[in-house]
């Protein structure tokens, strides 16, 4: 379980996160939703320590992450995988080397063991013959999938995904969502996903935290999100023509 308690974060005098407390459960796909600019990415980056929160506590299964030094955090970081908004694959490395990279840095496995693990991860994301391609030779959906393979190569307990299906067609987006959900269940990970895609919300949202202008506005799950009477949440959920018509 990952817990954030009373997190505040500002940039200059722009207060981005205001007293946010969240709980993300193990074996579940936990979504953070909200408008563009509401602070989802900042919250996620605070949770994993890419930004230091101004105030508040972050606990990974009761280990106090916020008070650890860079070296103490290493052990938690080795248990953590992250899928960045743009993939963040290393351009200078092939797909295989990208997925192998954490193994090379943090394990003493032999080359054969590493390749076996890489192929296992690539099979999970359905990219079995892409080992020797470079990131510049991949499509957007493939980049996301390689990034997922890299994120799970160390067998993480915690998986963070920042807008895993932004910029993808609805079908490919659905494939990525399913993949994240299956991984979460299969490996019993604590998964946190940032999204503003309503399809993902109603499909994979085991728990949903709605952030509105930097505040935690509503918490629930995929069954409650469509029937809430919270005005701001409804404005967000029923923003598109399609969802508006479906509501009628």
């Amino acid at each position: 379980m990952i817990e954030g308690k009373n997190i505040f974060k500002s940039f200059g005098d722009h207060l981005v996160l205001k007293d946010i407390s969240v709980k993300f459960e193990k074996g579940k796909t936990n979504l953070i939703i909200g408008q563009s600019g509401s602070g989802k990415t900042v919250l996620m980056k605070c949770l994993i320590g890419l930004y230091e929160a101004d105030k508040g506590q972050i606990l990974f299964d009761d280990r106090n992450f916020s008070e650890m030094s860079f070296n103490e955090r290493k052990s938690i970081r080795n248990e953590l995988g992250m899928l960045f908004q743009g993939g963040a694959l290393f351009d200078s490395m092939t797909v295989e080397d990208n997925v192998m990279f954490p193994l090379t840095m943090f394990t003493d496995q032999s080359k054969e063991e590493k390749i076996e693990r890489v192929n296992f991860c690539l099979k999970w994301v359905n990219l079995e013959n892409a080992n020797k391609l470079f990131p510049s030779e991949l499509s957007g959906g493939m980049i996301k999938r390689v990034a997922i393979a890299r994120a799970i190569s160390m067998n993480p307990q915690y998986l963070f995904c920042d807008e895993p299906n932004s910029g993808l067609d609805p079908q490919t987006a659905g494939v990525i969502d399913e993949l994240i959900q299956r991984l979460t269940e299969e490996f019993n990970m604590t998964t946190v996903v940032n999204t503003h895609d309503m399809n993902s919300v109603i499909k994979i949202g085991d728990t949903i935290s709605f952030i509105y202008k930097g505040e935690l506005w509503w918490v629930g799950d995929k069954n409650q999100v469509l029937s809430s009477d919270n005005q701001e949440l409804n404005d967000f959920v029923f923003a598109t023509e399609l969802t508006k018509r479906l509501k009628k």
Partner: protein, 244 residues
């Protein structure tokens, strides 16, 4: 300005740490020696030959008194190539070539979140990215500069061989006469310091990019400008310290 210098120092503290894996570091070091050193050999050779030739011609034209032996041409070429042209001018050229390369490589990694990806894996990104580049340049640049000195002397020889200004015999005697080994030591100390300046400043500029492609370009320009200014400044300081 002062706060920038402060964050430069803080970054250097993170750079000079034990690498996470020596095996990976060694691989990176060899790759960087190739990218920063071997790939700069061509331009170093061309510039050095022409530099040597020009110094030789200019010196020969300036000697009109029959009291000054033409051997002086070779001597002057050797002294100016060793003391100044090879270590300083070639380092300035490398600041342009290598500096912009490093700043844009690391800057691009910053704006595409590759540096964040390294960090959340538990890797120390300044150490992983910048340390191999600094050490590679400090190792390979002295080799480049020694070669540059050789090419400079060859440039002077071409002038002797192809013009009537002075004879090859004069020239060869000149470059061998009144030799002090310390001048080479002085040149190599300068080279190593300049290599550190180029790679650390460019690494710093790349690492601190915020924004997108335009900022990466701006950072790579700043990397070249600041490395060049610092090279010129430290050239003065080191010369004062080492030669007086």
């Amino acid at each position: 300005m002062i706060s920038r210098f402060g964050s430069y120092l803080l970054l250097m503290l993170k750079v000079f740490r034990k690498p996470d894996k020596w095996k990976v570091y060694k691989k990176q070091l060899i790759l960087e020696i190739y990218h920063l050193g071997i790939e700069s050999l061509g331009i170093t050779a061309i510039i050095s030959v022409f530099m040597g030739a020009v110094v030789a011609i200019q010196t020969a034209y300036n000697i009109d008194s029959p009291l000054i032996p033409l051997k002086m041409v070779g001597f002057t070429v050797r002294q100016s190539v060793i003391l100044e042209f090879s270590p300083t001018i070639i380092s300035l050229i490398l600041a342009g070539k290598v500096g912009s390369r490093i700043a844009s490589e690391i800057g691009t990694m910053r704006v595409t979140e590759q540096i964040d990806a390294l960090e959340i894996m538990g890797i120390n990104p300044p150490n992983y990215l910048i340390f191999p580049k600094i050490t590679a340049a400090m190792l390979i640049n002295p080799v480049l500069i020694i070669l540059s000195m050789g090419f400079g002397l060859v440039g002077g020889y071409f002038v002797a061989a192809t013009t009537q200004l002075f004879t090859t015999q004069d020239y060869l005697e000149g470059i061998r006469g009144w030799f002090e080994g310390y001048t080479i030591v002085y040149a190599l100390i300068k080279t190593v310091v300049f290599a550190f300046i180029i790679t650390s400043i460019s690494g710093f500029e790349g690492f601190n990019v915020k924004g997108g492609a335009i900022e990466v370009g701006a950072a790579s320009t700043r990397a070249v400008v600041w490395s060049s200014i610092m090279i010129i400044l430290f050239n003065l300081i080191l010369t004062q310290l080492l030669l007086s």
